[in-house]
Structures are given as C-alpha cells and as structure tokens.
C-alpha cells in the first residue's frame, strides 16, 4: 500500500459513522493526529507483538528482580537484596566463564566460518547448494540430541574411544568434562549463525573491486585487508554479535559436554527459578545478563549500516 492509497482509504474516505453522521465529530480529531504514512501502519503489528510479547515479559523480569526472596508476585516493596547477594556470592565465576566462552567461541567461529563463507560466495550454483544443505541439515535435529550424540562420541567407551582402541590398541579415554569440549560444542551448534551473515556480508564485495585492486598492484593480503574485509564488515559484525549473544545464553553445551566442569550463568538462572524457588534472584541474574548482551549489541550496531547491508546500496 502506498502513502497515496493510504490517504485514500483512511484519510479521506467516508467511514460508516461519517455516512450516518454519528460519532464523526468525536473520531475526526483523533484520526487526524495519527501519522498518515504506510510505514507507521505496516510496523504496527510487529510493534504490538514486541510490546506485549517482548517488552511486557522484560518489564516483569525487571520488576521481579527488585522483589524480596520468596516473592511469587512482581508487586511488592522493592529491595536491592538480590543484586547485593549476587555481588557478595561468587556469581562472578559464572558470569566470567560465560563471557569468556562466548568470546572464544565467537572468535573461533569467525576463523572457521570465514573461509567457508568465501568459498560458498565464490562457488556459485550446485556446489554452494550442497554446502548449504550440509550446514543447515543438522538444524532440523534438536540441539540437545546432537550434543548428546557428541557426548557419546567423545566419552569413555564411546565411538572415538572404542574405534581407537580397536584400531590402534590405545583408547582416548573420556574427552568430555572439560572447558575446551564445551567451546567445541558452542562452535558446532552456532556455526550456521556465523556463516550466513558472513555470506551476506561477502556478497557486498564486488568482484570488480578486488580485480581493480589487484590490477593496481595490491597483494592478496592487501586486497583482503583493504577491500574485502571493510566491505564485508557488516556481515562479520552481525555474525560475531549473534554468536556471542547466543553463546552467552547457552547452557546445553556445558551440561551435555562439560559435565559440571564449568557452570554458565544461564544454569545459575535456571537453578534459581527451579530448585532455588528464588524467582527474584533468577530475575536479577537475567537482568544483568541482558544488560551485558545489550551493551554488546549497542557497541556493534553503532558500527553497522544494516540498511546498506540488506539493500546493497
């Protein structure tokens, strides 16, 4: 719908009330104050969904975080005791590990996914399609099942241990229950979330620009540093941000592969809401986690021109 057609239907056409002459005087000033562009009205459904489905629960979580322990209602006399407890207890360990693992996973994902993305952009046609199918296919299996599969693969008397034992007479023993395997799980699970933004970013790099730089004497590294990377930066930043935020909120990898070697902050949040019977504590931890993720989003989004990325202008 264009702005003109919108004007025709909302701004100037006669409503049933106007035709009957009832209520028109009441509605006209109110309608007149509403914006008359299609963008406003097109965004309305999503805005309402976000308002009630996203910001509403978020407000509840914030309210709960200021309630005393044992509260099962967000309305009451506010207190800072949950935040004080979080500072006084050793929650910094969970926050620290979650942050560190998210950063390491995002960096590793970038290193793994970038060459793959370059290959997929430059490999047009069927080969790229095969890569895409191979990468997307695991997404159709639940994350927990895939991680349980890796656990059985790496654990003592698992596939790897058994195969090594039978082939070489020396098994690997258990390779689960440590932090590197948790990071491996994060990289495995979130690979598509890095790869596809990178592909989108790399499609912004015109082949002509690379060729022109080469013709002017630039080395391959200079072409990568001065041409490819700046033009693909929005995809790199979006992919990194996405993977960082998802890894920050990940818990299954630590449970299935870490076997208690490390406790991510989301596990603490889950524990507070369930076994801890402490919704306010869980809410306060959630608020802090959201603030960390939001800070990362703000930092990255200030450097990204989303409009340019998607419209390729």
């Amino acid at each position: 719908m264009t702005d003109r057609s919108f004007d025709a239907t909302v701004g100037t056409s006669a409503t049933p009330d106007e035709r009957t002459g009832r209520g028109a005087g009441l509605l006209r000033p109110w309608l007149g104050r509403l914006p008359r562009n299609a963008g406003f009205w097109s965004a309305m459904p999503l805005s309402l969904l976000l308002l009630f489905g996203f910001f509403g629960p978020l407000v509840l979580v914030v309210l709960y975080s200021f309630m005393p322990r044992g509260s099962f209602s967000p309305i009451g006399w506010p207190t800072l005791e949950n935040y004080r407890d979080i500072v006084e207890q050793n929650f910094y360990i969970s926050f620290g590990w979650s942050l560190l693992m998210a950063i390491v996973a995002a960096v590793l994902l970038l290193l793994v996914a970038y060459p793959l993305a370059v290959a997929m952009v430059r490999l047009a046609g069927k080969k790229a399609d095969i890569y895409t199918i191979l990468i997307v296919a695991p997404l159709f299996v639940a994350e927990n099942i895939r991680l349980q599969g890796w656990s059985l693969f790496f654990d003592k008397s698992g596939f790897l241990d058994g195969a090594m034992e039978s082939l070489f007479g020396v098994g690997t023993g258990s390779l689960v229950g440590n932090i590197p395997i948790v990071i491996f799980g994060l990289v495995y699970v979130y690979l598509p979330f890095m790869l596809f933004p990178l592909i989108l970013g790399l499609t912004n790099v015109p082949g002509d620009a690379r060729e022109a730089a080469s013709d002017l004497g630039a080395t391959r590294f200079q072409v990568f540093r001065d041409i490819e990377l700046p033009l693909a930066a929005p995809g790199v930043l979006i992919g990194t941000l996405l993977c960082f935020v998802l890894s920050l909120g990940a818990v299954s990898e630590a449970k299935f592969l870490g076997k208690g070697a490390v406790i991510p902050i989301v596990q603490d949040i889950d524990s507070a809401f369930t076994f801890g019977q402490n919704w306010p504590r869980g809410s306060a931890l959630s608020v802090l986690l959201i603030l960390i993720a939001a800070a990362a989003v703000v930092v990255v989004m200030r450097r990204v021109d989303i409009d340019r990325m998607f419209t390729r202008r």
Binding site: N90, G260, F273, Q277, W279
Partner: protein
C-alpha cells in the same frame, strides 16, 4: 463408588466418560507415559495432557503462580502436600470413604492412615501414594564393594574415592544427602555450627567429584564403563534401568551407620539414607474434573500400577501396591532384580529401614545458596 479392602478396583465408571473430556496431569515420569495414559484415555474416551516434572520445587512454584487453573492432578514427593500445598489451599482432599480401601493393597509400613498422605491434623486424605524408594549412594560394586560402602558411608566415597565419583545433580537431593553425610538431618532448623559443617562438606563434595550431571542414565553409563565408581545421591530410580539391562553390579547402597539423632534402642545404628514416596493429589482447580479421581483409581488396577512402576522411560521403581499379590504377580524376576527387591522384598526392606522419610528442609534457601556457590567454585 466404594471398594472393599484388598479387592481389585473395578473398571472406571462410564459416568465419568460423559461428564468431562480432558485431564491435565503434572507428574513425575511414571505417570506421564503412553503405557500408563493410553489405556486410561481409550477406556474413558478422554484426552489426557501430561506435563512431566523437572523438580518438586519447580512444580510447587508453578501451582503457586496460577497453575491451579491448568492442572487437575499433581504428583510430588511426600511432605509438599502435607506441609505446603494443602495449607496454602492449592490441593483438595480426597473422599476418604472412596479411597481408604485402596490402602489395603499396600506393603507394610504404608497402610492406612499413612502419615504423608494425610493433612497435619490427620483428618483429611491429601493424596494417593504409589512409587517410592530408598536413596543413598549409587555404586559399581565391581569397583568398590557394597560392604565397603555400607561400612564406610558417604565419606568412603567423598574422601576415599576422590576424583572417581559423580554427582547426580538433583539439587535438593544433593543438599539433603550432604546434610546426612555431615551427620545431621536436613529436615529441621540447623545450628550455625551445622551450617558451617554443611558448607565445608558441600564444597568438598563438588571439589572431589569427577562429573556433575542431572542425567541419571549418563551417570549410570559412566559407572558401567568405569569412568566413575559411584554416584551421590543414588537411589533405585537411578540404577534400576542399568540393572534391568543386566548390569546388576550397579546398586543403590544405603550406609549402615546412620546419624546420631536417629539412633534409638530399637534401631541403634540409626539412619543414613532418605526415603522418597510420591503422592498424587487433586489440584484445587476452579473447574475440577471427575477424571482426576478416576485416574487415581485407575492407577490402582494391577496392570496400571505395574506400568507406573516398570514402564517409565529409563527407570523402574517399587510401588507400595506390591503388597497386593495381584500387583506383585505382574513383575518379572528381572524387574524385581532391577528394583533390588530381594527375597520376599527383604533387600528393599533392609535399605528402607536405614532411611528417614523425605521432608521439608527449613534451611533450604541458605543451603541452596551454599550449594550453588560450591558448584560454581568447580570452574
């Protein structure tokens, strides 16, 4: 409807089949599976919507936060009904005249009036009991003998098997068993010295553990492969599936020497483990359905009772209705071996005699804080 003592319950009345069409159950895994629910649903012609519990406290919170409008039946470990749900008006008493006769099916120790099924005044019947079991330590007896663990108790594992045991991370159960290992019951107020002992021990428990997981099947597998030799806590529910597969070296062992405050003239060694028993109650739903009562009756038919005990995914458990010959006859020798039944039920009875009953821990909040601190300190 009324049944005489010890008699097999009759089929569900067709009256229920026409008065309601949907039953919502919030329960532990034994009651939420197809082998149990499908025959009931087809017999009644109703839809049964199960939601499996992930923990007692979480389910209680769900009820407190408005879940009474969602569920018709709630199945939890004992004590919650008697001490929290009924006083808070979240569950409805059962018709004693209707349900009392079913208690005649139960094994000794669970007869009418059973403490944890009654309200604190002893007047109201708050639910029906079914699955139960002793909780102690899960052990691979090929690696460390039952006798060694029975004599040495929890510290034989926590200190003697440092770096070789796992923790089954059902948080409230870890806390309760740590209290027992520290030498006092979890189910009363604790002194500052006891809280300090608990703190010290729970940090040691986590520091010395090789693995921490809430996946009982994975921990049982780790015991079978020799990756670990024991699991704290370990109940029949966490070892029975492995035992049923022929891995009978995996056992739930309850230490012989109990905590001082449980020692009596009749029981000079006291008690070191904890017995849990599930109680299924009617939720105080604003729109109650007669299907809820019908389901409770159905679970007492020998076939359904057996399926509750033996057909849950990944676990087999004793049920109190095994006091009825009709119910006991449903079990195979392998299934009885899996639940450590023993000759005439003596093995199970011995382990139960070493356990105190599950109850509410008044210091749970403070102890849970220490528990999470100890768990985080592993990282």
């Amino acid at each position: 409807m009324r049944w005489s003592c010890g008699k097999r319950p009759r089929a569900i009345s067709p009256r229920w089949a026409t008065s309601a069409r949907s039953l919502n159950i919030h329960a532990w895994e034994g009651y939420t599976e197809e082998p149990v629910l499908d025959p009931f649903a087809s017999q009644i012609g109703a839809t049964v919507n199960p939601q499996m519990l992930i923990s007692d406290p979480a389910a209680v919170n769900n009820l407190r936060s408005g879940g009474t409008s969602t569920w018709d039946l709630i199945n939890l470990n004992n004590a919650w009904q008697r001490k929290e749900l009924y006083p808070e008006g979240l569950i409805t008493p059962l018709d004693k005249e209707k349900f009392k006769p079913l208690y005649a099916m139960n094994t000794p120790g669970f007869e009418w009036p059973y403490l944890w099924a009654m309200d604190q005044g002893g007047d109201q019947l708050l639910g029906m009991i079914q699955r139960y079991g002793p909780s102690g330590i899960g052990v691979n007896t090929d690696k460390i003998s039952r006798e060694t663990v029975e004599k040495g108790g929890y510290m034989e594992i926590i200190e003697g098997a440092k770096g070789q045991y796992g923790i089954l991370d059902y948080e409230n159960w870890v806390i309760m068993h740590t209290c027992m290992a520290a030498g006092f019951t979890p189910f009363r107020k604790h002194t500052e010295a006891e809280m300090e002992s608990y703190r010290e021990l729970i940090f040691k428990l986590f520091a010395n553990a090789k693995k921490v997981s809430d996946d009982q099947a994975a921990l049982a597998r780790d015991m079978i492969t020799g990756e670990i030799i024991a699991v704290i806590p370990g109940s029949i529910y966490s070892v029975s599936a492995a035992r049923y597969e022929g891995e009978t070296q995996i056992e739930s062992v309850v230490p012989e020497e109990g905590i001082e405050e449980t020692k009596t003239a009749e029981n000079p060694k006291g008690k070191a483990g904890i017995t849990w028993i599930e109680v299924t109650s009617l939720v105080k739903n604003p729109a109650p359905t007669p299907l809820a009562e019908a389901f409770l009756v159905y679970c007492h038919t020998p076939e359904a009772a057996y399926r509750v005990a033996a057909k849950a995914p990944g676990t087999l458990n004793p049920i109190v209705q095994m006091g009825s010959p009709d119910v006991l006859a449903q079990f195979s020798a392998d299934e009885l071996e899996a639940i450590q039944w023993g000759e005439e039920g003596q093995w199970l009875e011995t382990n139960l005699s070493r356990c105190i009953d599950f109850d509410i821990n008044p210091d749970y909040a403070a102890m849970h804080d220490m528990y999470t601190e100890a768990k985080r300190s592993r990282g």
